[in-house]
Amino acid sequence: MTLGDPDSRNGGRAAAAMAVLAGLALACTVAPLMADGSVIRRHDADPVVAALLDGRGSLSFALLAGLLGAALGLGWAIAASALGQRAERRMMDAANRLLALPLILLVPLAAGLAGGGVGLLAATVAAATAPAVAALAHAELRALMRREFLTAARAAGLSEGTILRRHLIPNARRPLLAAGALALPRALAAESFASLLGLGLPAPVGSWGGSVGLAARLGDGLALAPPALLLAVALWGLCAFAEGLRR
């Protein structure tokens, strides 16, 4: 691997993305120290501090819903691969059909119709992100199954359990992790979209999307810029991290 090749570039980008995300998470964590007074009120605070305070809600929700979505999607793909050809075809057909629908629209709709709540929102976001994770994880698993070392292991007479333990699980870990990481930016985008429309995270929790939506409605450019920029940076970081894991 040389400095200019795509693998090296992606590795560097993934490392930069991790550094940016860590910095962002740290800034959001210490944001209350930047706010003056004992009671933190986002609307009274400086726009940058307010955006950092909102980041705690957005990032922690993205982590929660993204992990849920990743688990659901990975479970879907693994179950499809394990249950035989017919079930695999049906399950992955369903995932691909769902992928063609605007599932992200269900997030604000569910929040609006069911009256909100973080749990429901997380479940809806997870359900909306799972098909994409399942499709990618399944494609990675299929590619892995076709690799020559598995054929060689079977030809050498190794049992399926040994093949699973020694070859399949160690080699599948990274691609599955990469497929699961895809859920994080999607979860953040879905929550931000719903919050922007006023149908996302409850106001006390705080959200970049909610602040952007409020500022856009009020016509306040100064209040819009910090959360919009932080949201864009976080989305870039999460996407670059997921892509870096894939290659």
Binding site: A100, L101, P102, L113, L196, L197, V212, R217, D220, L238
Partner: protein, 253 residues
């Protein structure tokens, strides 16, 4: 109309018409949210008017700029392509819709800003896909063979570029059109809602705010049908690019 376009449209008819028909039927039912089937149809037409030109222009510009970034990265168009490709994930449609809504409240004209906000994510996505495809077509291990063969037949650089490399770069960008459609629709819903435009997205979100399932379902069905229709248009464009490439290479389909 070419045969492949007719085939694609025929294939997409059930996925397009059934949800739209279901939405219209639900909208026509008597109830507190009775805006009527005609109201939904007008709202869907407005949404289509917002999203279709933005997707078409965005994808075309992004694909060309991305292809140029693969061909001449240091040129102005190449720089634009690289910028679009790099900016991809940081510019979701709903965020740009919020910025557009802010600018409209400050006195800017709604239509061009709205279309630009919706076109940018599609352009970023297309540039992201077209750039590596162009690089591969020009010298990569897999796609480069066709170009070397074309040059071996004595075709000049411009013909090779226009007839072989460009379609090879544009085809993947059109292949990713479905994602652009989904992102475009999300941006459109946000734009309609923030600017209070009477589109299907705003109808749906208003109904959700009021907790009305009867108001949400017709618009949601209509938007699903619209998604299928737009995706089919993308598939037709991709088939056109594939056929053009095949014709240039002397392959008959």
């Amino acid at each position: 109309m070419p045969r492949y376009a007719l085939r694609r449209l025929t294939e997409a008819l059930p996925a397009t018409l059934l949800p739209v028909a279901a939405g219209l039927a639900l909208a026509a039912m008597p109830g507190p949210e009775a805006g009527g089937a005609l109201g939904l149809l007008v709202a869907l037409a407005l949404t289509l008017l917002l999203v279709l030109p933005a997707l078409a222009v965005g994808t075309a510009v992004g694909a060309l700029a991305g292809a140029w970034a693969g061909l001449a990265p240091a040129s102005a168009a190449g720089r634009l392509g690289r910028l679009l490709a790099a900016a991809g994930p940081t510019l979701p449609g709903f965020l740009l819709a919020a910025v557009a809504a802010l600018a409209v409240r400050a006195g800017a004209s709604a239509a061009p800003l709205g279309w630009t906000a919706l076109a940018l994510p599609a352009a970023c996505q297309a540039a992201r896909l077209a750039r590596p495809a162009m690089e591969q077509a020009l010298g990569g291990a897999l796609g480069g063979g066709a170009l070397l063969t074309a040059q071996g037949f004595g075709l000049d650089e411009r013909t090779v570029l226009r007839g072989h490399a460009l379609p090879a770069a544009i085809a993947p960008a059109l292949g990713g059109f479905q994602n652009a459609v989904l992102a475009g629709l999300v941006g459109t819903v946000a734009l309609e809602s923030l600017l209070a435009l009477p589109g299907a997205g705003a109808l749906m979100i208003d109904a959700a705010r009021n907790g009305s399932v009867a108001g949400v379902l017709p618009a949601l069905c209509g938007l699903c049908g619209l998604t299928a229709f737009l995706t089919a248009l993308g598939a037709i464009a991709r088939d056109w690019a594939d056929n053009r490439w095949a014709d240039n290479r002397g392959i008959r389909r």
